[in-house]
Amino acid sequence: MDKRTRGLARRALSTGLLLLGASASIVACEKEEAKPAAPAAPAPAATAPAAPAAAPAAPADDKGPIKVGILHSLSGTMAISETSLKDVALMTIEEINDAGGILGRKLEPVVVDPASNWPLFAEKARDLIQNQKVAVTFGCWTSVSRKSVLPVFEELNGLLFYPVQYEGEESSWNVFYTGAAPNQQAIPAVEYLMSKKGGGAKRWVLLGTDYVYPRTTNKILRYFLHSKGVADEDIMEKYTPFGHSDYQTIVADVKKFAAGKRTAVVSTINGDSNVPFYKELGNQGIKATDIPVVAFSVGEEELRGVDTKPLVGQLAAWNYFQSIDNPVNKAFIDKWMAYVKKNNLPGGDKRVTNDPMEATYIGIHMWAQAVAQAHTTNVDAVRQAVGYQHFKGPSGFDITMDAENHHLHKPVYIGEVKADGQFRVVWKTDGPIKAQAWSPFIPDDKGKIANWLYPWACGNCTEAKYK
């Protein structure tokens, strides 16, 4: 390129950059313009002052669309899991709008991309609540992301629906947890593996990715196993970092540990590492009948990107499987596949439904029902109405939201991986079970209550707030 052209290119580029910068700042400022703040609805006397200052909630304007925030990573490491949640949220919103919306108003989704960056999650959450004035947010996946947005939601009195299974040890005034707590996933899975039908395991390998969810879950499980008479030398706990891909040594260690006594592996390995782990199990000739592995973070979506040959027969514990056979689930799946087709989502007819997607679906509908019931989008009013909501979930049961601890009552299913990437249900509870936000097995949690109703009005206390 000669000098002249280069100079021209340079000028063009710089003008472009400047224009971009200028327009960015103008648009950003425009978005930031504070609308006249509406006076907040008088909070009921029993409202717990968990948030220091209840800032004015959603605008009281009753016309116009209701804004719904969607806070899921669309790029970065978590995009793999979270993009589907964004898609199913948009589908549910469309479904509600097609049925006429709520209170005669349409729902308008506001999608932002926090890019798997935890500080960005907090920033986006603040943006959604303060600037976009969303009435509710559906979002987050990892516990880090939830923990980084929690102070924002509590400070600004926002409402968050969190759809992913997690480690418990939390119950916030501003969050509704539609994913499983450990007693709705981990404990039943271990009980199954202990039973004769599950293999009668005597030794346990607790294998996880090194972060709070596996650490806390394994802590709960260790105490649980102690309570069932399992000694520490029969429990092996190992952690690998995110993205770890070389499991040769670890699987060899598991094989060694398992020699001689019936052993089961409880895997809280998250994300990408699952594929090399299962491949290595297959490589070293470990079958599900020798050493069963139950995973809590492997669902239909994760199996989509995997060659399922080495996994057949391995187990997963969830509150929902796509293969559950009932009319509600069939309708849900049909709706989803139609949505995928209509919007040409990548993956086409290979797309699947999974537990967090079902939880998102239930969460949005419950919130919509609560808004309709409360006749307003005001956060405090809606919060009171969400508790006790019922919804016929695709899991085949009537799901209720517990008004006390803000968690869903969920059924537990244990499924075996089939060659086609679906699960075959081998065990299930008779009905939904209540979540225990504070695990009764951890000594530090003794006596802790999560109950937001009067007179307790707290998420983490040992005695009632109001006598």
Partner: protein
Amino acid sequence: MLERLTQFHGKRGWLIFGVLSLAVTVLIPVLNGLPKSFPLSVPDSMIPLMGKFLCFGMAAIAMDLIWGYTGILSLGHSLFFALGGYAMGMYLMRSIAGEGVYRSNLPDFMVFLDWKVLPWYWHGFQSFWFAMAMVVVVPGLLAFVFGWFAFRSRIKGVYLSIVTQALTYAAMLLFFQNATGFGGNNGLTDFKRLLGYSLQAHATKRALYIATAIALVATYLIARFVVTSKLGRVLRAVRDAELKTRFCGYESTRYKTFVWTLSAVLCALAGALYVPQVGIINPSEMQPSNSIELAIWAAVGGRGTLIGPLIGALFLNGAKSFLTAAFPSAWLYVLGGIFVLVTLFLPRGILGLGAFRRLRRAAASPAEATLSPVVGSAPAPSEAAVPAVAVTAAAGGEVPAP
């Protein structure tokens, strides 16, 4: 002393500097304090956001010191930023002892790890001044030791960049482990108070913003002091022709180590101010891609000018915030595109454009203005430690003709 100050900028430069710093430190908080109906009022949500950007600006100035003026491209500076952040975070965690989820004296993450006592390296952080000292001492010491050994062995150019990248990567892996005792992947979070003031209150946020703005101004002045001094000249000489500088009798190792440590400490201070405004510090702040972004801010703005990287940092971070909201699926294209195009066509960054010649001249010190504008775009021969490249010395800013 006054004589020394006049060396910083020319008169016009001082004027611009004064106006800008007043705008940033005083005007914006005042505008924020005005009632919201005022047309020019700054909304509340902008304050922590701008505070964050100013912290990045400080880090960018620190980066310019070593890259723009000394020719050392460090891909590990986010390590120092994060270490400063962790020191502040540790103080914030200790200050809420007993108020966490588990109501224990230990931070929450230690409780769920079943630890019973505080590790030795957490002692002392309940004191604010101790934590502040650690913000300076720990990254400074690490930088000093690493820099001394690295520069003494004459590691430079791309090798040094790769080694610094390895350093920050190794540190990130270490901190991601829960067993290391810094909160693992969750990091340190759930902060409630700083020096007794609630972090949720807007007044605290405004105060933090003002503190950051003052720190930024101070950083700029310190950097300006260094680059307009004789030391600064030696640094530029090291950047352009290290071998010759050494033969002239200047012990380049000492100079490089000094500016390296200074830049690390400034970065750490930026990190320490960043954490209370963002509310979380976690090992992904140390990842190599953060360091690379830091370098890009400096490159986009214009290396070797101090103001340039500041502009670059503000511009790029503003664009990122805007784009992740407006074009969630396309923003990486824009960012990557900016990287590539700026490196190709704007080797001197935005400030290198002809349009900004005046600003550059105004920003330059009187002594600098007489020198030919060597704004480190082409590396000096000593920078390319790669044996394969026989260097055709391209002094000055032109891209060699293809």
